[in-house]
Symmetry: C2
Subunit: 262 residues, 2 copies
Amino acid sequence: MKPLGRVVFIGAGPGAADLITVRGARRLAQAEVVLFDALTDPALRELAPQATWIDVGKRGFCDSTGQATIDAMLVHWAQRVQHVVRLKGGDPSVFGRLEEELQALAAAGVACEVVPGVTAAIAAAADTQRPLTRRGSGRSVSLSTAMTRSGSLHANPQASRRADTEVFYMAGRQLAALGRSLQAAGWPPDTAVCVVSRAGWPDRLSSDHPLAELGGAALLHAGRPAVVTVGAGAHAVARVAPPTSPAQAPLSPCGERALSAS
Amino acid sequence: MKPLGRVVFIGAGPGAADLITVRGARRLAQAEVVLFDALTDPALRELAPQATWIDVGKRGFCDSTGQATIDAMLVHWAQRVQHVVRLKGGDPSVFGRLEEELQALAAAGVACEVVPGVTAAIAAAADTQRPLTRRGSGRSVSLSTAMTRSGSLHANPQASRRADTEVFYMAGRQLAALGRSLQAAGWPPDTAVCVVSRAGWPDRLSSDHPLAELGGAALLHAGRPAVVTVGAGAHAVARVAPPTSPAQAPLSPCGERALSAS
């Protein structure tokens, strides 16, 4: 069957509807059909009230049957309407399983566009005002998943530190094991770790832990999508003395509000 | 001097004005003063015509004098108006020198907010339709800079591969040296490398190179901000056979348009 339309993949950002890009919002406004993930903000529907919205999301990992069904649905709709949107939480290119869906559409001759989005690691850094890169100490960042599809921790045969700042997605269910694994990889037990759940949302929550006590974060963030930032980028920005007139410029909490739950 | 206002750091995204987030656009619309970098799209000014726009950007790295001046200007304006915006290319938390500016504002008692943006690595992946993570082969991504502040290549004493996909920012002037450094770190000479300059802009340009020939990209992307993607995420998405009825669903180029210069 010849395709009628094309598919636009849009990164919705980490959650709250206003973290989508302007380009993403404009493409949504043209959509006839939107296939969306469970974690995207329902308020995004207001950007495309004319469209048919189809929930294809699962929390955590899709199993392969689910993914094949999504692939088939994308092709199905691209053969029937002109403007199909595939709305994904975060950014489609980072742990978004974009590869599989692009392959299925290529095989069916469907043209695609990808509109990038704000990925969770970056949203967590913004919420907590903790830059992922730092002068001198933080010149590299790694993004990885802590878990396999079956929900167990990835074995890391190299067991090495990957970067000055490491961010783990989908780590919520394995925090204690992740902490042990990172220590085995050479991170000291007192390494700073910052856990942020529901980054980008009004009810986001962040907490600080030394690596050896990371398991203690599990209860606080239970059932909430979380990212775990380890190393240079996990530290609160150091207070420095004001450049002029300390009496008139007291040390004051730039960002303190964002560091606690809001 | 007591602060009157607050500073909102906004990630403008990689370039084109419509890759800013909706939240970022709304904050800009409230700005009285905007301090912006050279690489941001002039069209963003239309989002804040009421504001005074001050160019504080330099291409590549600021020297320390420049950074201290920016810090002082942020404090100066926060003491005089209510809504100050610091607009940065890409995302403020990733190679955005956010740490220094947050420190200066904290020292002066100025409240801050950080609105995340689309970072260049992700924009390049969207443009080329090459996901940074891949099923099986690409489960980690690293972001780093290829160059020191003085413009020479970072020495990497560990010389190890950091992740399945490695993305380098600000590598345009040192492509041949970066290629040699990555081979010394263990990447095979035929590793896939994708170079994208002006990601997110209409005149973006991408090119493919085996790692051993990365130096050949220098002329093509000369003078244009570029990101270099190495490894799993640098490959074009593999064509697969269509799931049903090959005669009716010929192998067709999903994304081919974006893979060449547009």
